[in-house]
């Protein structure tokens, strides 16, 4: 087991990952990790605009985990936070910052994610903006939040087309991974 922790660290370092989290994410938790992430980048004198982009992509991804992960960690105790289980990674590959996230989704939601992600993958800035406005109208009228808006937001912040992958786990669950390069 001790070996494990060294191997994890070694892998993370090799890939330039400076923030790795896997486990239950709640809103309060997200705020504090986001804060250390921001502080670290500020100390490294990363430009303001990159920090803002990395931070906002990190927030959108984390909130998608809270809202849409099929694995939730909620005790019945009153006042305990809503937490979704997932993994989130932030790193620097030598040229660019990247933010990746992963979580389990229900197979019944696979089409929804696939539809949105495949559409935004090839969209340019203008198209994304149009799509964003379109989704925004829909969401407002539906009065409910889907993953659409936040994924489009992520794509708009991304310097390159976002990459995604759906790995089927079993007859009920699929693992969704999304990578954004800022």
């Amino acid at each position: 087991m001790k070996d494990k922790i060294f191997v994890i660290k070694k892998n993370l370092n090799e890939k330039g990952v400076f923030l790795y989290f896997s486990g239950p994410i709640s809103q309060d938790f997200l705020v504090e990790i986001g804060h250390t992430l921001r502080q670290k980048m500020e100390l490294e004198k990363v430009s303001r605009s990159i920090i803002v982009k990395v931070f906002s992509v990190f927030i959108e991804h984390s909130q998608n985990i809270i809202n849409f992960s099929a694995e939730q960690c909620n005790s019945d105790i009153e006042g305990s936070p809503t937490a979704g289980i997932g993994v989130i990674v932030v790193g620097f590959d030598g040229d660019n910052y990247f933010v990746s996230c992963g979580n389990t989704i229900h197979n019944s939601d696979v089409d929804i994610f696939n539809d949105i992600l495949s559409r935004i993958k090839d969209m340019g800035k203008e198209k994304l903006k149009e799509y964003y406005k379109e989704e925004l109208k829909k969401e407002v009228s539906k009065k409910s939040d889907g993953p659409g808006l936040s994924l489009i937001e992520v794509a708009r912040k991304s310097g390159r087309p976002i990459e995604y992958k759906l790995t089927r786990i079993d007859e009920k669950h699929t693992f969704l991974t999304v990578k954004t390069v800022v």
């Binding site: 486990g23 990790i33 670290k40 990578k179």
Partner: protein, 183 residues
């Protein structure tokens, strides 16, 4: 990374690890780490005393990272030098116990001193640990500790199996130090 994010996560899951954070640590983040673990353990219906033991080990480990990790960024704040220190903390379950482990970079010149200190604790019986804890609690902190120098003794007293630890040399300056406790 995209390709193996699922792999990494299921690897951790296979080891029983349900929480793993590697990155800059802070006191405020520690509060939230504690909250997240508590929430998960409430779901598991863990006993209050198990929860408080796990929590207490997490606090000692994360504060050790905050104080002693040599992977850090220093900065000036209101005329005082503060730092943002990086480390790793993981919590998991194995059969009927929980384990908490942490890892951080440490300068090679500090390795021997820390290694001797932990080896000494590992060799002690429960009673010896208690006696040593009390002695240290009354003594002034040694010149190297920012806390009370009681953190590792506390871990050694709480763990239900001997403390596991390891130092791996990374390069001529740094080693990676990891430690694991079971509750």
């Amino acid at each position: 990374m995209l390709d193996d994010l699922y792999g990494v996560t299921s690897d951790l899951g296979n080891e029983g690890i349900f929480f793993c954070l590697s990155g800059p640590m802070s006191q405020e983040l520690l509060v939230e780490i504690g909250g997240a673990i508590k929430n998960k353990m409430l779901m598991d219906e863990a006993s209050k005393s198990t929860m408080s033991q796990v929590f207490s080990i997490i606090v000692e480990m994360v504060q050790n990272i905050i104080f002693y990790s040599d992977e850090k960024l220093e900065y000036e704040q209101l005329g005082e030098t503060s730092s943002c220190n990086v480390g790793l903390i993981a919590v998991g379950e194995e059969k009927d116990s929980y384990f908490v482990m942490s890892g951080n970079m440490i300068k090679n010149e500090k390795v021997n001193r820390l290694k001797n200190r932990i080896e000494k604790l590992v060799a002690m019986s429960k009673d010896e640990l208690k006696k040593f804890y009390k002695e240290q609690r009354r003594a002034g902190p040694d010149e190297y500790s920012k806390g009370a120098g009681l953190g590792y003794i506390e871990m050694a007293r709480k763990t239900s199996r001997p403390l596991g630890f390891e130092f791996r040399e990374i390069d001529e300056n740094m080693s990676f130090f990891s430690i694991i406790t079971y509750v």
